[in-house]
């Protein structure tokens, strides 16, 4: 594996986007970044700007209002990057799939911008931080060399 891929796998910076979640998944994502789970030993840090980030951590169904903004966020990220869909709502719409404000699950929205996007799904309502870390590791191993 090349130097570039090695560096990308060892140092992944996360940017958290909430596109219509009830906040439970957001709480679990923030828990993941606390000292108890210590993701810094894997090189993961929270980035303040999408341009600095390598992983877009998305929670929530994608509402009508948030859809163009999520696509803009993905376009702003410097490639190569991965997307993590956290929670049942981001994976498939969850229990809100039939609602009036639901506008496509997150992976459909992102694949409109980039059909080759690497997306990892972490189901759960909300998923445990250990599951989120496992999902991040799976997304990293899918990055092509």
């Amino acid at each position: 594996m090349g130097l570039k891929t090695w560096a990308l796998k060892k140092s992944i910076w996360l940017y958290h986007a909430n596109v219509g979640a009830c906040n439970n998944c957001d709480i679990e994502i923030v828990d993941c970044l606390t000292p108890r789970y210590d993701v810094e030993r894997f090189g993961m840090l929270l980035a303040g700007s999408p341009r600095h980030a390598d992983a877009l951590v998305v929670s929530g169904i994608c509402t009508c209002q948030a859809r163009p903004r999520l696509q803009e966020l993905y376009r702003q990220m410097a490639k190569p990057c991965v997307v993590l869909c956290i929670g049942g709502c981001a994976c498939s719409g969850g229990i809100f799939r039939a609602c009036y404000h639901f506008d496509g699950p997150v992976d459909k929205v992102i694949r409109e911008v980039d059909p080759e996007a690497i997306i990892a799904y972490v189901p759960g309502c909300p998923p445990k931080p250990e599951a989120i870390i496992a999902g991040a590791v799976k997304a990293l191993s899918a990055i092509p060399d």
Partner: protein, 167 residues
């Protein structure tokens, strides 16, 4: 203040407004108020009985849309609900936000989702629906078609404005 005491006080104070009042459980009192007196009754609840507005809810029964204002008496834990309604076809109601600003946002939300027009509201803008949501489409009304009757494409919003049916 005990429930029976509060019940009597409310009956005495509000009898000129044509209300009907009943008490379903030890800490819940319901007051049905005709829509023309709703603002005055709400004002009395807020200013004279010194209750706190917890929230307001709306419900589309097929004949009318009901708006319920829930007030808490924090000292005794009693919740008083003032129930008014908005009639077809224009579903208008007098806004309570002119009495106290706490009702501002919740009335905007009821306006967005159920289509109740609150008159003299200080700021009647759209609150929670998306910017590109069409006017005149109210998602929580009974005649809003369920998801499986709509096509599941991002263009469903455009189709919806053509096929909204009136009951």
């Amino acid at each position: 203040m005990e429930v029976d005491e509060l019940l009597q006080d409310l009956e005495k104070r509000l009898e000129s407004f044509g209300i009907s009042i009943f008490c379903r459980s030890p800490k819940r009192i319901y007051v049905d108020v005709p829509p023309q007196y709703s603002r005055e009754v709400n004002r009395i609840m807020f200013e004279e009985f010194e209750c706190r507005l917890a929230t307001a809810t709306g419900m589309d029964t097929s004949s009318r849309i009901e708006v319920l204002y829930h007030y808490c008496l924090d000292s005794s834990g009693i919740v008083v609900t003032i129930r008014t309604w908005a009639q077809k076809p224009d579903y208008t109601l007098e806004s309570v936000a002119t009495v106290f600003p706490g009702a501002n946002f919740i009335e905007r939300e009821i306006q967005d989702l159920l289509g109740v027009r609150f008159q003299h509201h200080p700021d009647p803008r759209r609150l929670i629906l998306a910017d590109n949501w069409p006017e005149g489409v109210y998602p929580l009304r009974r005649d809003y078609p369920a998801r499986k009757q709509r096509k599941e494409t991002p263009e469903f919003l455009r189709e919806l404005t053509e096929e909204v049916t009136t009951p």
